[in-house]
Amino acid sequence: MKALIEEFEKVLGKDNVFQDEADLATYSYDAAVLDPVLPSLVLRPTSSEALGKVVGMCNEHALPLTVRGAGTNLSGGTIPKSGGVVLLTNALNRILEINEEDLYAVVEPGVVTAKFAAAVEAKGLFYPPDPGSQAVSTLGGNVAENAGGLRGLRYGVTRDYVMGLEFFDANGELVKAGARTVKCVTGYNLGGIMVGSEGTLGVFDKIILKLIPMPPARKAMMAIFNDINKASETVSAIIANRIVPVTLEFMDNFTIRAVEDFSHAGLPVEAAALLLIEVDGHPVQVEEDAEKVESLCRRLGAMSIRVARDATERDKVWEARRAALSALSRIKPTTVLEDATVPRSRVPAMIRSIEGIAREFNLTIGTFGHAGDGNLHPTILTDRRNHQEWERVEKAIESIFDRALSLGGTLSGEHGIGMAKSRFMEKETSRATIVYSRRIKAALDPKNILNPGKIIGD
């Protein structure tokens, strides 16, 4: 090992090889509620070339390797294999190109999402995927998790913006997928399998992202309902009327109360549900859509509607949604943020199930999320040190999965599988799916060094 460490130091410089026990401990966790696992070494390449070399060296020595962006994933994707290597991408953080003529950008994997979005916006362009963690999350992590965000309904998720990728395979050889063109059918769609691969199939070195023009106008409103069904019918009606809002966010009564306690924004604490709706596009169309949405909300039984007239009011409307996680997470020490997702029309059924599960296991669960795309965030509030309660939490999580699947949904809309959900994979798919996936993994990574144990288990 000592000789190998010297080799790494030669490639990366001494400062970029961490081996002190205290440093190692700070790369043993991510945002998932799971036990930390210590790596034996943490490496921070500062160039593409060094990145490729290091990957190759790990393979040569059969060292398990976990790539880490900001470490904000919620499924244990960056918790290393015991004794393995953690590879940091945060020194690979350059925006290499923003092309205003052809509407694409080329970035290194460690670029922070919000910084990229701001740089793009400064040129009047738009990169829509906006995960709640965007102030710190990296684009590499977004691609590897296929991250979503609040704008998924109208603008899709990270996958919809990846035009091409350059990545290192397990041997440290550079593989190129996709192109800078809108159309590209050169070879297999390798980018397709890399998006959402959670660091198990290759290490991204460069990402080509699609950009779109910034919509010139937008308008937000908040509608309050005394019945979840009415809120849900409203969601369906909006879409049936051929309006696709940028965002259609939902908060349940528990979350509304928590937010009101926390920020005193004047929310009606007796309301059963709250929808936050924003439309965007050309000013005339935005006005028209906003009016239509407003009248739909009224017709379908909204108790009250608050339309934001200017930027400050818009901010106020959004403040409630932004405060949701903070408000909930302060109630108890441990916050378990789930993201089971169901077809849009099944949202009320799912919410009722979650309420039932909370009662059955005697737990506190607040639910908010993206009603427009059926992606809910049941948030379990607990204290992990209370072992009895923690057992019930684990059972409740399993019940939530079961329920989502029986409603035709999926285990995870955007947070990924990682280690947290890998054992449930077969429930949603099939034995053959797992075997097929493992064969792909074994063929591409015969020594199983790339983030072993994630998604498809060991």
Binding site: A25, A31, V33, A70, A135, S326, S329, P333
Partner: protein
């Protein structure tokens, strides 16, 4: 190993606060230190995980954890932005005290804190000597900024420090008390070390302003340090001594508010005195909470209690462009940000303009600057760049420590930008 068990037991005191961190990583977005180094051990999440690791007995040696815990500006940017409401600073301060108590204080620091700060008169005399002698060691480089750069190789290296002011505030202004007039209010003035010894003019501006508004001032004799240098080094014993000393001094006379012109002193008295008071006598605890409740920043006092308002800006005089830097200990720790701006705009000679990232830490962090000058300077450079980009001729702030850092950074870069305290700007407008 047995030792690490004992340490684990001590740190476990903090467990209820530690578990609140959900490891979301959002503190990475605001930590000035992490922005420079990108090392997880430098951001709150990493440090909290290390403390948790001590509880879990994960380490063979506490040294590595201690070093990383001490590498922090205690700026509170993480706390202020934490979605989960983790009381990061409380945890770090208490953990520093536990670890230092456990591992022992560095002998040099021990000499400084126990010997000088905890014995104020002695400290004063020492600093007077230093101030008289410094002519030999430092020469003025920039009259505008009043910074000096080391002529000889002193331990201060590259710094362009402000020369110690000779004579200090406590020799310029007599202790004692004046009675309230127009305002019907009486304040106790907590001067603080840096204003006393480096920026006595700021102290004088406070006195002049209070006089102008008819506010009575009680200025005790032999005031001491607020204790933050000792506490941030984990020296709880010296800190307690200083708190006691101050309590005695300020118990001498009644007052409505205790004001300071130092953001760090204000937040230390308001937040850290009560945090660490649990081991004091009941009587002292009551005194501490009474004083903490009455303590406020001078601009907050003037705007909220005296009613100072922005000036009408009709006069077409040539105006000096002025910007403001939010001290972390004022904005993030106490939520005071609008009052100093009001105070600045009460002087119609200036035109106020926000710089970008006005509330990004200046990088001073008290003793952090002494121990990690390189990083402190690179954080400071970001502040300097933002000041210069604002094209203002003057930058004001509310903390003498930030003033020192900004002076150093601007002076090293050769910028002709004046650094002033908000109260100085306001006092200039008084007849």
């Amino acid at each position: 190993m047995a030792d690490m068990k004992q340490l684990a037991r001590l740190i476990k005191e903090l467990e209820d606060q530690l578990v609140v961190c959900m490891r979301c990583g959002m503190c990475q977005a605001v930590c000035p230190l992490y922005a420079e180094t990108g090392r997880e051990a430098d951001v709150a999440r990493g440090k909290l995980a290390l403390l948790e690791g001590l509880v879990q007995e994960m380490f063979k040696d506490p040294k590595g954890v201690n070093e990383r815990l001490m590498r922090c500006l205690l700026c509170g940017s993480c706390s202020a932005n934490c979605p989960s409401g983790v009381k990061v600073l409380d945890i770090f301060i208490r953990a520093r005290a536990i670890l230092t108590g456990y591992m022992g204080l560095h002998p040099l620091k021990k000499a400084v804190f126990r010997g000088m700060l905890a014995r104020p008169q002695f400290f004063d005399r020492l600093m007077e000597w230093a101030s008289r002698l410094q002519g030999i060691f430092v020469k003025p480089v920039d009259d505008l900024l009043g910074a000096s750069c080391g002529r000889l190789l002193t331990p201060l290296g590259e710094r362009h420090i402000k020369a110690l002011a000779a004579p200090p505030f406590h020799m310029r202004v007599k202790p004692g008390s004046t009675s309230p007039r127009a305002a019907g209010l009486r304040v106790a003035f907590f001067v603080g070390c840096l204003i006393d010894k480096v920026f006595p003019n700021v102290g004088e501006a406070v006195m002049r302003t209070m006089e102008h508004h008819g506010v009575g001032v009680f200025l005790p004799e032999d005031f001491a340090c607020c204790g933050i240098p000792a506490l941030s080094s984990g020296d709880a014993a010296a800190f307690d001594k200083l708190v006691h000393y101050n309590l005695q001094r300020f118990a001498a006379e009644p007052f409505d508010f205790l004001i300071t012109a130092c953001a760090t002193c204000t937040s230390t008295i308001k937040k850290l005195w009560p945090l660490m008071a649990w081991k004091l006598s009941l009587e002292a605890q009551e005194q501490v909470s009474a004083i903490a409740a009455k303590t406020m920043d001078v601009s907050q006092f003037l705007v909220d209690k005296v009613g100072v308002r922005q000036a009408d800006t009709k006069s077409g005089d040539q105006k000096v462009l002025l910007t403001y830097h939010d001290p972390c200990h004022l904005k993030k720790s106490l939520g005071v940000a609008s009052q100093p701006r009001t105070l600045l705009q009460a002087n119609s000679r200036y035109r106020f303009k926000e710089m970008i990232e006005a509330d990004w830490c200046c990088g001073m962090g008290g003793s952090f600057n002494l121990q990690h000058y390189g990083i402190s300077a690179s954080i400071g450079k970001r502040k300097r760049d933002n000041i210069v980009q604002s094209e203002c001729e003057t930058v004001a702030t509310s903390c003498p420590a930030c003033m020192l850092q900004m002076t150093d950074m601007l002076s090293q870069a050769g910028d002709r930008v004046q650094v002033k305290h908000a109260i100085e700007i306001y006092a200039e407008s008084l007849p």
